[in-house]
C-alpha cells in the first residue's frame, strides 16, 4: 500500500472515505460519552452514504443511489435522533463510560491491531480473487469495522456503548455487501434498514426498562438476573 498516489480522483475519493470510516470508528473507541459516540456514528454513516453514492455513480445502478439516500436518512438522522429521544430521561452518569473493562488507551492500541489483522486477513483470503477497486478498498475496512464494533461491545461496561458497537458492526456488514456485490436488491436493503430501526428501538426500550429496574446501565448488573 506504500505506492505513491495514482492520478485517478476516484481512487483518492475511495481512499479518503476509507480513512474517514476508520477514523470515525476510532472516534467511538476514544470518546467516553454517549453524545461523542453518537456524533462519531453519525459522521460514519454520512461517509458511508457518500461511499455508497460513489459506488452508485460508478456502476450506474439506481438502486444503490436509493440505498445511499436511505442510509443517510435512517442512520445519520433517524437512529441518532431516536436514541437521543429515548435516552432523554436517562441520567447523565449512565451515558458516560467511566470505567471500561479495557482502558481506552489499551483499546486504541488493540484497535490498531484489529485493523492490521483485518487487512492481513482480507489480503490473504482474497488475494487470488479478481476484485474490482471498490472491493479492494472497502472490504478490509468493513472487516475492521466489524471487528472493532465487536471489540467495543466486548470491552465496554455501559449498555449504550454496546448499542453503538452493534450499529458499527451493522455499518461494517452493509459496507461489506455493498462493496462486494455492488447492490443487493433494494428490497433487501430496505428490509435490513427496517430491521436495524426496529432493533434499535427495542434495545432502547429495553435499556430504559433496565435503567428503571436496576437504576444502572452497567451490564454487570444483568448478572443479577442469573438463576443461582
Amino acid at each position: 500500500m506504500g505506492e505513491m498516489r495514482t492520478q485517478v480522483p476516484l481512487s483518492d475519493l475511495l481512499t479518503l472515505s476509507a480513512v474517514g470510516l476508520l477514523v470515525s470508528t476510532f472516534g467511538v473507541v476514544v470518546r467516553r460519552s454517549f453524545a461523542g459516540w453518537l456524533s462519531a456514528y453519525r459522521y460514519q454513516s454520512i461517509i458511508l452514504a457518500g461511499s455508497t453514492a460513489v459506488i452508485a455513480y460508478e456502476t450506474g445502478v439506481w438502486e444503490i443511489y436509493a440505498a445511499a439516500a436511505l442510509t443517510l436518512a435512517v442512520k445519520a438522522v433517524v437512529i441518532p435522533r431516536l436514541l437521543v429521544r429515548v435516552t432523554g430521561s436517562v441520567r447523565d452518569e449512565f451515558k458516560i463510560e467511566a470505567n471500561p473493562f479495557v482502558s481506552v488507551r489499551l483499546s486504541l492500541l488493540i484497535s490498531t491491531l484489529l485493523v492490521a489483522l483485518s487487512y492481513g486477513l482480507v489480503r490473504q483470503t482474497l488475494a487470488s480473487a479478481n476484485l474490482d477497486v471498490f472491493a479492494v478498498t472497502y472490504l478490509p475496512v468493513s472487516v475492521s469495522l466489524f471487528f472493532i464494533g465487536l471489540f467495543v461491545m466486548v470491552s465496554r461496561r455501559m449498555a449504550l456503548n454496546q448499542v453503538v458497537g452493534l450499529l458499527i458492526i451493522e455499518n461494517g456488514l452493509f459496507l461489506f455487501t455493498t462493496a462486494l456485490t455492488q447492490g443487493v436488491s433494494l428490497i433487501i436493503e430496505v428490509g435490513i434498514l427496517a430491521d436495524i430501526l426496529v432493533g434499535v428501538m427495542i434495545s432502547a426500550l429495553l435499556l430504559l426498562r433496565m435503567s428503571q429496574t436496576f437504576d444502572s446501565f452497567d451490564i454487570a448488573s444483568l448478572e443479577k438476573l442469573k438463576d443461582d
Binding site: 477514523v23 492500541l109 487487512y119
Partner: protein, 317 residues
Amino acid sequence: MTAQALEVVAIGALQLVAVFALAPLLTGIMRKVKARTQKRIGASVFQPYYDLSKLWRKDEVVSDYSSWIFRSTPWIVAVATITAALFIPVFVPLSPFSAAGDVLLVLGLLALARFFTMLAGIDAASAFGGIGTSREMMMSSLIEPGLFLTIFVVSLTFGGTNLTSLVSAAARTGIVIAPTMLFGLISFLIIIFAETGRLPFDNPATHLELTMVHEAMLLEYSGRSLALIEWSQSTKQLALLALLANLFLPLGMPASIDAGLLPLGVGALMTLAKVALLAMAVAYVETRVAKWRLFRVADLLTAAIASAMVGMIFFYL
C-alpha cells in the same frame, strides 16, 4: 568556502531570522482569531511584540531556592529551539545544514528544551512548578513517541530522515492521498495541539492551577528570561506548523532550491499563507473545545500514537 556553500548558509541564516522575527506575529494572529470567534475585539496582532519588548526591559526576580539550572534554562531552551528551527526548511525547500542534522535531531533538540523546562519547574521548590512538571512528564512521555511515529510514517513514505530531501520529495509528489499519509496527518495534527500547549491539552491563557501545564512550570520566571522562553515557544510553534504544511500540504512549494527566484518567492509566500491559515484553524478549534481532563488527554495522545501506527500498517500492507 565556495560561493554556493556561502549562498546556502546565507539562505539558512535569512530563513532563521525570518522565522524568529515572524514567530510572535503568528501568536498574535492566533490570539486575534480566538478573540474574534469569541465575539471580542482582542488585542492587536502585534501585541506579542509589545509584550516581549516590555518583558525585555523588566527587572527579574529569581528565587533563592533555585539553582543555576533555573537561570540557564531560558538560554538552553532558546538555543535548542533556534537550532532546531535552523534545520527545518520553512520558506524554501532547503535546510542548509541538512547534511549535519536530520528531523530526528530536530526532535532531539526540542526534547532537550522540554527536559530543561521540566527541571526548571521543580527547581524553584514551588508546588505549582511541581504540578506543571508532573503533568508535562506524563504528556511528554506520550507526545514524544507520537511525534516520532509520525515522522516515522513520513520517512517511510518519502525515504530517509534528511529534511531537505523529505520536503523536496513532498513538493515533487504533491499532496499524497494515501491512507499512510492521511493517518500520519491526523497524528501530526493532534501532536501539534499538544506540543504547542493548545486546548484541549493545555490552556495557554490561564494561570489556574487546575488547568495549567506549561505555564505552571514557568510561573517563577520574569523579565528577560520569560521573554526568551515565550519567544522560543512561538518559534517552535511556527516551525512545527511550517513542517506540517511542507510535508503534508506542499502546494506551491518548488521541489528544489534551483527553481528560480519567482517560484521560490511564491513558495515562501504560499508557506506563509498556509501557516497563517493553519494557525487560524488551530485557534478556531481552540474556541470550540473545552480543556480535557488530564487523564483523558492521555487518551487523545494515545489516539495520535494509534493513528500513526495505523498509517505504518497501511504502508507495510
